[in-house]
Symmetry: C2
Subunit: 534 residues, 2 copies
């Protein structure tokens, strides 16, 4: 999940929800077809009546001509209404090759979550509309609503964090470490080549509970580090900041309290826009004084590590602010823990990181992939955010009838961009990806052996062997071998008249063309041995 | 997937979409609040104006009183509108225990699909509305539509079969064996205790392509047999029939062509209703002659195996019908293949099986669980359908611009009912289910060892060990051990002052309380050895 503010930005492009005309066209077409159908029916009745009434042949001929004309018209019209064969805008199918890559990525992510002792939950794809209301700020306009068909008003989930908070409050859970991998939905401007979709996966890991400061927070960053290292998709950097430091900074820069969230959203655009553009939005659109904006400008260009934290703790203005002091103190602690985890070199404390969503209350972070440094050793360039998250201590309280809070911190891995990169990598390497795990093809050497093939494959399935056969009564041996070449099946179990008599099966290794007779009772073991299955 | 006709039946119960009143209530409430707000605003203006006009203190006081009254009213009203903390009707969350069971069920199903050489695909949760139009007959009213928010008109998928056919036509695929496991959506009357939801999983396996008769069809039944055996949820029976036999039977019984599908839907209700009820629907609602109904009645009570097929091939009326002859011939072939697979004893040719969906063209089947026979050896009683499917040779052609057909046959496993049964079984057995895979808890024997715990756990994570620690600076050893007891973590790695000096970690086996000092460099291997991980 790309930063939510980036989503919000794009949705401001005018006219992008512009495919309404197609739907209107379909309705018009349907109406026209219905009208024509009715005319046709009436004309047919006329012809029938005339015939019954034994009208003159000329009269009948005239009306039949009219009927044929109408029929022709219907034909033309029918041709005009082309059915559009596509998936909805911003969505896609996954073919078996893409699924193989997707499952590889999921395996790495899930095994990391499990290595950290996470449980797993699932929630429905839609929530009551009011569950989502008031949680996403200006991004709320991107929520998909369901049609009111009688009953409850529903919306598709926008992320997995709000459903998680609803789940905790509903079940009065005060303590859990869980992951959740599922699709979320945003009516955003899709940019599918860059991995941005309207339906996309989020892989979330969250720790809920009252704990000592920054220990769970540090673990979330360790998890991001493990996953991005494990995926081997190049160098990366994890930016961290804290909402309390931002709020303290806004206060000392002279931003009125009421404008904190608004200015925060504007700061969040710094990863895509220049400071000049951001400043002009602050002053022009958000009504901030140019002096206050300039003071913010000085802070948000700062990034570094422990040194910067120490420097800001001494900052004459910032150190006077209680929130900022708290945030900086915790940031220092976080860096100590990250150093113990051996990952501090990939983490940058960055005062320009703001994150779009309203619900963050403490530390926030975002991981970006860095393009490889070129020969001139220029600064590595960001190719976009692949993970993000932070602390949200107030969200569960919004759902609890008595407002009881459950502190939470979590991270969300943005799988689609990672998946795009992996897919490109696979294509570039021309690596052949198998989309099945079939160990053996059951083949026949001669005709009329369908029954024998069915008996053998059934035996193999029943002993746990992954086996296929061609669905032909009498397939040619060459076609059967070719199928193995095409799909990467390593072994062929060939039945023939002679083999049946001898109580053996000919086992052929596709790669080497080596053939060996194996006694039928040993076949399962031999296949397992040769395909390295326990 | 529960038979679709059962869904249709329930939706006819009047008033079941009966939570409209709640939504209406909310709208009323919102209207009232808006009205009140407007009144309040007007009253505030009045007070302001009076003050500006320097009206008499009495006059101002009177109007202020009115304002306060309105404000109080708003307060009361606000309190009335309670936020409902729930998941949408007919849906549920899965907690970690339920997820553990669900993953066990999926593992069995997926490994069966893979054993048969299936690839996997995925499609979006919603489709263009017109993709689903005209595919489900009278069940179409159960489709969830998305709100028209500008752009394409969308609906949530109703099953995985129609999206599969759309996928094949869109990508011009004429040959594939794939599985797809995903949630589908039906605005049906939920019966959640019996595993019937509005959001539920389907696990579909389909074979598309032009092949020799009944070979893929037989494999689908073999798969159902393997899955239901593997799940160990008791005895089961797979009923089979063929749409061509049904249509032939309708023809020879004197049902007009135009009523075939309608009468077919009525026959499908025989698993829940008596013949008398079904007959009265045929005659009363569907306008069939009582004689035709009686002739149908004679056929639909027949069930058996190869013997019945032979008998019907000799049936003086049925054998005259081309469609019926084709269907019966293929049914005979199917039973031959099922016998070779060794599963014919669990299959019953049943002329009352009809299946609700429009798109079937050939063999159809449905698996039901049988309750264990009681001591009196009565007939086993059906506890409901857990799998179903059949051949649909025309569906892909409905999407192809040139109407090119791709023959398909498939099966859908209804996971929710199976899941309910598994859940009950687990609860009854009081078996303790672990919801994490954590191998070791990193614990401290004394205070002030947080840093040492962080260093050790980081080492373990980096060498692939699943490890947890408590997020406290100074947790008590007893609490750390208790956490292992509660969550089933088998090992504790304890760091203490002495152990640090000696370069060892104390490894404690939770079950036996045995403790052993392990040299730090050997710890990973020792944990792997003791938790049987490769």
């Amino acid at each position: 999940m790309p930063s939510s503010s980036a989503h919000a930005q794009c949705s401001e492009v005018p006219g992008w929800v512009g495919d309404g005309s197609a739907a209107a066209g379909a309705v018009t077409m349907a109406d026209e077809a219905a009208e024509l159908g009715e005319a046709l029916r009436r004309q047919a009745d006329t012809v029938r009546r005339l015939k019954q009434e034994k009208a003159s042949p000329e009269e009948v001929a005239e009306q039949v001509a009219k009927l044929l004309e109408l029929k022709a018209q219907l034909g033309t019209d029918d041709g005009k209404h082309k059915f559009v064969l596509k998936t909805p805008k911003g969505t896609r199918d996954y073919n078996p090759k893409q699924m193989a890559i997707r499952e590889k990525v999921f395996d790495i992510i899930i095994s990391t979550f499990k290595r950290h002792g996470a449980e797993v939950i699932d929630t429905p794809v839609f929530e009551l509309k009011e569950t989502l209301t008031g949680k996403y700020g200006e991004d709320s306009k991107l929520i998909y609503d369901l049609k009111d068909q009688g009953g409850e008003l529903l919306s598709l989930r926008y992320d997995l964090t709000v459903p998680f908070a609803r789940y905790l409050a509903m079940n009065k859970i005060t303590n859990i470490k869980r992951y959740h991998i599922a699709k979320v939905y945003r009516r955003d401007n899709p940019a599918m080549t860059r991995g941005r979709y309207r339906e996309f996966y989020q892989c979330d890991f969250d720790i809920a509970g009252q704990f000592d400061p920054m220990i769970p927070d540090a673990e979330c960053l360790k998890i991001v580090h493990e996953i991005l290292s494990g995926l081997q998709i190049g160098d990366f950097l994890i930016k961290v900041n804290d909402r309390r430091i931002l709020d303290g900074m806004f206060a000392v820069c002279g931003v009125p309290d009421s404008k904190f969230r608004m200015i925060c959203s504007t700061v969040d655009k710094l990863d895509k826009a220049t400071w000049e553009d951001v400043k002009s939005e602050m002053v022009g659109e958000k009504g901030l004084s140019p002096e206050a904006a300039d003071r913010i400008g000085e802070y948000v260009q700062l990034h570094g590590g422990l040194g910067l934290i120490e420097q800001l703790l001494q900052d004459p203005k910032l150190s006077q602010n209680k929130l900022a002091r708290e945030g900086l103190g915790d940031m220092k602690l976080l860096f100590e823990y990250l150093t113990l985890f051996g990952i501090a070199d990939k983490i940058a404390f960055d005062l320009s990181l703001a994150r779009g969503l309203d619900y963050y209350t403490g530390v926030i972070y975002e991981a970006i992939l860095l393009q490889p440094q070129n020969a001139h050793k220029e600064e590595p360039v960001s190719v976009g955010s692949v993970a993000g998250g932070g602390r949200y201590d107030g969200l569960v309280g919004m759902f609890d009838p008595k407002g009881r809070k459950v502190p939470c911190v979590g991270v969300s891995i943005g799988i689609e961009r990672i998946f795009s990169i992996m897919e490109q990598k696979v294509e570039a390497s021309e690596e052949k990806i198998r989309t099945t795990e079939t160990q053996v093809l059951v083949a026949a050497a001669q005709k009329k052996l369908l029954e024998e093939r069915l008996k053998l494959i059934s035996e193999l399935w029943d002993s746990g062997i992954k086996a296929e056969m061609l669905y032909k009564k009498n397939p040619k041996l060459l076609n059967q071998l070719q199928y193995c070449e095409d799909t990467g099946i390593p072994l062929v179990a060939i039945v023939g008249e002679q083999e049946l008599k001898d109580g053996v099966v000919k086992l052929r290794v596709v790669a080497t063309r080596e053939e060996v007779d194996v006694r039928r009772e040993n076949l399962t073991e031999e296949i397992k041995r040769r395909t390295c299955q326990p």
